[in-house]
Symmetry: D2
Subunit: 199 residues, 4 copies
């Protein structure tokens, strides 16, 4: 089977997105499953279509990754909300959604299908500072997370990881950061723990 | 009818809680309704009982207030989660809850019953910096918010406002702050807008 | 005699500078002295010349004000450094200075000529959250501060106050802020305490 | 000759200090010079005496290290001030100094005797996010920095590096951090660049 890991293209004036770059740092195989990598558009109208085209339904696990510029360390999302609200920040197609449902009439919230507590514990044992988050925001990250939870069969483990800025972004913006290699290792551990919990 | 506004007792070593102090700054009457003020315990086992004792079901509006020490301005919560997770921070009874439902078998999330967009717009027009939040946390604030949404009749407008530190906390901790009088005015506006929307 | 208070023009893409807007909120007279207001250019080459043209040498007090976007409350600077280093942020003339002295051969540092402790205490008594700072940065604020200390007769009280973002900036950037009226009152108090200390 | 690197004992309720732990991660020899490590007390009265006992005057370089809990990455200090002001935070002996000179009648400020720009450039080339700082604070770090600059012969390169929280502190306090191994490598580079500049 395949493990699908996705990142996003750049947005908000950045010239790269750590969530896409982290894909290259993942091993090609985890626990005997091939790792397949995809970069998603930051385009609210297109992302629903692009996600449909990915081999998600039969995957061993689906891990979506995105960037949280204002968090100092990697965070594991517990909840996806049926809500888009971009504030004053358009997506890459120039569109601003406001107070809109992602799936009309869908549940207000869907829980991550990763073993959240086990992943957080494994990160702690590995000495990786991290955050358990109850909000993936109301932008493209949350849209992608909610769409996959709403569409995929319940037996496919599916979750969302927010990355912190990496060293390259930190050098440009003097922001807090977590080394990208550490964040890649955290993703690898999350997948491993997820597959173990499923077995 | 009565407008019920609640705050919390002190916690985490603070000697007062701005969410309790703000109650004294509210007018006694808003749009012809009396304002009733209550201070809730930061005690996960007791709060469910104490809330039952309050005159909430017949209220014109119920606004719960709590302190978010790490936010620079007042925030309006959109969503309550059916989740308690105190991390390593016990409540005032010394208890730590972890990955526990607030209402067994209840909905994962419940939406605020305030007119969120209208309140945010009114705050903006009044020149009050504010945040729209999609996470009230997983501590007592969220517990109180979720319990009221789960228990109160749907026609009672009910919501949660997180206060930023006030000037007194800022002087002690050198944190960002928003003047308590400004936050009190924001609460008054929220109530007014809520009653108008209901009328 | 005259009390001179200066602010700066906008920079870094802002369409106004709170340090210029605050000037309008000051009283016209403090302790019998007229308040004269000037807005300085964010232009490293011009500021030395423009400062020369101001009536500073015979002033009762000189208070320079500038914006510190990353500080949550007003701060009183204790020290001016003989150093310009703009990093990657040009001034409004597009120039970047690096590791350059402001006054060739001048002292490395000059102390504020305001009664720093007395001002901080007065702010505290007035309930105004504030910071005592030992670095005015290495941009135009520090240049203006150092130039005045280097040039003015020792008997002219002279100092620098960094403003925090005001409510208008906070609404745009969701940053921490301190109400501009509170910051104006802090400047008025600083002047009053300075004149008393001098008397 | 010997390269002297110092850290500090724990303070402010921490059970260890990354500036002491980092010493163990340095190589035993840099550019042919032995690395000697010392941990200094957070005791304002004792530190002047303890520094006297160290083999600093004949050292090839002296690098003092301390912790800046509120900075996300390692910072290189440019300036030591002749000022102690502990605010409301006592040293480990319970003493609070306020507006006191470190060396009576000494210069207000002394510049770092490291090749600051060259070190910052070397850190940048090595991909290590860092900050150039113009304030080492007014606590023990600045006291130690100022004392060494005031006492050591001018030909001894001497400077101060503020460490960010490391991964262990980040796990406890959920603060931003920089891996301690990265910070140790930054210190090694600073020493190497300093010795080259001197040669």
């Amino acid at each position: 089977m395949t493990i699908v890991v996705t990142g996003f293209e750049p947005f908000a004036g950045l010239d790269y997105n750590p969530s896409a770059r982290v894909l290259d740092l993942l091993p090609n195989e985890i626990a005997g499953h091939e790792v397949a990598r995809f970069v998603l558009p930051v385009d609210s109208a297109r992302i629903a279509i692009d996600l449909e085209a990915l081999p998600l339904p039969g995957a061993a696990a689906v891990i979506h990754c995105g960037l949280a510029q204002d968090r100092p360390v990697i965070s594991l999302e517990r909840i996806a909300l049926n809500l888009l609200d971009f504030g004053d920040r358009p997506d890459n197609a120039g569109k601003i959604e406001r107070d809109r449902e992602i799936v009309a009439g869908g549940a207000l919230a869907l829980p991550s299908r990763l073993p959240v507590r086990a992943v957080l514990e494994a990160w702690r044992r590995a000495g990786i500072p991290s955050i358990a988050s109850t909000s993936a925001g109301t932008f493209l990250c949350n849209q992608c997370f909610y769409l996959s939870l709403a569409r995929l069969p319940k037996e496919v483990p599916c979750g969302f990881v927010h990355l912190a800025p990496d060293e390259k972004l930190a050098m440009r913006y003097r922001s807090p950061y977590q080394p990208l290699a550490v964040q890649a290792e955290a993703i690898r551990i999350a997948i491993e723990v997820t597959l173990e919990a499923r077995a």
